[in-house]
Amino acid sequence: MPVEAVTLADTTTKELPLLVLWLFKAGLIYGGLLGTAALMTLAERKVSAWIQYRIGPNRVGPWGLLQPLADGVKFIFKEEVVPDGANPLMFRLAPILSAVPAMLAIAVIPFAGEVKIGDWSFGTLSIANLDISVLYVGALTGLSVYGVILGGWSSNSKYSLLGGLRASAQMISYELTLLLAVLSVVLMNGSLDLRAIAADQASTGMWNAIVQPVAFVLFVIAMFAETNRHPFDFAECEPELVGGFHTEYSSMKFALFFLGEYCAMVVMACLATTFFLGGGALPFIAELAWYVELPVFCAKASSFLFLFLWVRWTLPRFRYDQLMTLGWQVMLPLALVNLFVTGAVVALGWHPLLMPLLAIAVLVPFALLFGRPRPRSESLTHEGAAG
């Protein structure tokens, strides 16, 4: 692609109607994101109720659909507490730093291809078409640590500090695996553009979930850790740390942390869909119109969102040492080896379907041999500790 020799001034003056269009598009996607995040807070309670054989919120609106709105209004009317001894500037900054980067990543997600209504063309259904959107997402995930770490530190509460500390160490540990899994996808599809990655999977029909099974599993696990969700929710593990890094937060500031968490979940679900499930593509159908692609994309992303809730009520929480062992001693080496193998397969020009076969042939016996739940060793019992 040749370098565009357009300056900023030219673009803005010439394309002012386009600017309005983009603003509209931004509003649409932003509204969609916030709406989905709000619905997720309801779904969280509805799904947990369903799993636990309860009814869940059903008072506000039909099926409790207006519950998120009621929650929001309640947050606004709540008294705000800035605890004594807290660092006031950082305390106020942390929720903003938590919510905004989480929302920003949605800007590069390609929800659907070219939008055409009648003779009008509205461009692709994404806010920004960057050549390096993968890197943009990577940079933003890196920044998402700050909200947690600052929120934990500035509260001057022991629970907050420990929660923030644990969560930040966890997030940086799993970010490596996340990025390495994404790197293998980049290798497979030969592009740093999310649109191209999705389009490539759609055109070859080989979704990365099939040809990159290891990266897919690693990405999904790391996705849970990055968003501080069960079974990795050490940021706020209630039995030990009360509320974790947001113990001292109340009112709108707490709502912003809440919003940031759910936005991060939505973004991660969209990313997983784009990277591994071919975006809005359907199997065996090459070209789809945008009004098919968009619902397909949303359905795939929703399945990931449901997975978030399902896992929460299925798996118990990890212990912190288990989390660190899994992250550094299992997932990171596995991600590096997967990158190696992907590089070799791509370089030697072998068929990509060799990857899942190789993964099954190597990982399944390995898991059977070494993956058994080990009995607790002697040294871990209390006698060992006391003696």
């Binding site: 565009e4 932003y30 709540k78 507490v81 605890p83 078409n129 509460s157 390495l180 592009s191 709108m252």
Partner: protein, 179 residues
């Protein structure tokens, strides 16, 4: 390209605007009370003792350090992946530069060198979160005033009673040594 980044900027502004509007609305609507009791940091109803800004374990620092090294590696590997992917797929700008095979070997050497770092940290036990349960036994500080006897004291008390009772104290002592 600039225009797309401008979109990101607008989007960022919209996001920040939403956040600030919410915060400002809430600041007007919420009740304001001048009560100081609620302002203490939460510590399960106890009065908090001292600051929370304690010195924490150095392993968090180790983790952050290893993370920095690998983040740099990943930043270098993005061009590597893109060049490799493009040149072997035959699409994109890297085609025809003949850089593919060379880049593959170089990238693998790069990964191996940094993997040595991970192996070093691993071998040194810095990635093991539970350091050791076989360290020296816990000695309770002697000068601490207690209202309730500790487990150790209770054990000693029980052993003393055993001694008085039926003279089987030797066996109890042996058991303790074995443990």
């Amino acid at each position: 390209m600039y225009f797309d980044y401008l979109n990101v900027l607008i989007f960022c502004a919209v996001g920040l605007g939403f956040v600030f509007v919410n915060l400002i609305i809430a600041s007007f609507l919420r009740p304001k009370r001048k009560v100081t009791e609620g302002l203490e940091t939460y510590e399960c109803g106890e009065e908090p003792i001292g600051d929370a800004w304690i010195q924490f374990d150095i392993r968090y620092y180790t983790v952050a350090l290893v993370y920095v090294i690998f983040a740099v590696e990943i930043a270098f590997l993005f061009p590597w992946a893109i060049v490799l992917g493009e040149s072997f797929r035959g699409t994109g700008a890297a085609v025809g530069t003949g850089i593919g095979a060379f880049a593959l070997i170089e990238g693998i050497v790069f990964i191996v060198i940094l993997f040595l770092g991970l192996a070093y940290v691993w071998a040194k036990g810095d990635l093991d979160w539970v350091l050791s349960f076989s360290g020296p036994a816990y000695q309770p500080p002697q000068e601490r005033a207690r209202f309730l006897p500790s487990v150790h004291e209770l054990q000693e008390l029980a052993e003393a009673r055993n001694d008085e009772g039926d003279g089987e104290g030797d066996e109890a002592e042996e058991n303790e040594e074995a443990a």
